[in-house]
Symmetry: C2
Subunit: 190 residues, 2 copies
């Protein structure tokens, strides 16, 4: 992908088609974590989706069926684990907007959580997938927090793409693993 | 509670009643973690229960309802987080049997997971609640693993209570938090 901005409509269509053929973002991270796990590099797992279970049926001679449940707002992030003896914790966000990432897509709990993780000596960050460019960035938490705090004071409610290009870390897609995000951690967070 | 063993039936009934009046084990840990979190001592959360979602309804003007889902076997442990800059990871098990803890109550995935955590420099263990004695023990992973490996070789399929008394760490219940398990970690795992 070039760095043309704004991206041309035709090119964007091509990217969208390509994205649809490929793995989705979550699968890409999970697959990379599996690679890291199997090769004894890191132990990082996705947390299960939080669900509020309301009704469960126990049919005779078969396993319990949950018949009423609701999605809950997550109280932490999507992923955590251990890498090189360090606690690592991150959230993954997909962004379809080509100019900025809207802060409304982050839950306040997630900001609070990552802030605490860093205070306690852990590695905390977010990975963003910009579908318009097929680009993956690791954004250090202090930058996200700066925009978050500004937004509260009636500032802008999104992080511009420019900020990612200037202060985010581009993850270069690889073969094994497909999304070698720990390389960025090695080079910039350890 | 005394250490009488085997416990008398009348006394056991009393304990069960007492247990029913109190918080359940999971709540006790969650409440303690909340205390640790609010007092900036540690960031440890319970992972959501893993659920396989099969069918979701989207009723008009109201939120999505999951109408068919199943409990999944957990691939890791119940709790993880960060304490004193270290990755911490554990599983909580309640045991109603007064003489031994049956290994069938541990999933093979959980053994594999804790083994990896320790190899990567994390703190990994299990907390056991013996309802018959209203006692909480932290058991170091190497002891659990020893019994697990022996069981494979046609050895005994449970960990006797005696092993807990001799090589486990009793958690003395407190006021704040109610289950101060990080005190045991301070004294024996750091």
């Amino acid at each position: 992908m070039g760095l043309n901005f704004p991206i041309k409509r035709k090119e964007r269509q091509k990217i969208i088609n390509k994205a649809n053929l490929g793995m989705d973002f979550e699968e890409l991270i999970n697959e990379s974590n599996e690679y890291y796990l199997n090769n004894n590099i890191a132990v990082i797992h996705k947390k299960p989706t939080p669900v509020q279970i309301v009704k469960v049926d126990y049919p005779m001679r078969s396993k319990a069926v949950i018949t009423e449940a609701y999605y809950k707002t997550p109280s932490t992030t999507d992923y955590n684990g251990i890498y090189k003896g360090k606690y690592i914790d991150f959230e993954a966000k997909e962004n379809h907007n080509p100019t900025a990432f809207p802060l409304a897509n982050i839950h306040p709990h997630q900001i609070e959580h990552l802030k605490k993780i860093i205070e306690h000596g852990g590695i905390g960050f977010m990975i963003f997938y910009w579908t318009a460019y097929n680009e993956y960035y690791i954004m250090p938490f202090p930058i996200i927090e700066k925009y978050w705090e500004n937004a509260k004071k009636d500032g802008r409610k999104s992080i511009p793409y420019k900020e990612f290009k200037e202060n985010g870390y581009l993850i270069k897609e690889g073969y094994l693993p497909r999304l070698p995000y720990l390389k960025v951690i090695d080079e910039n967070f350890l």
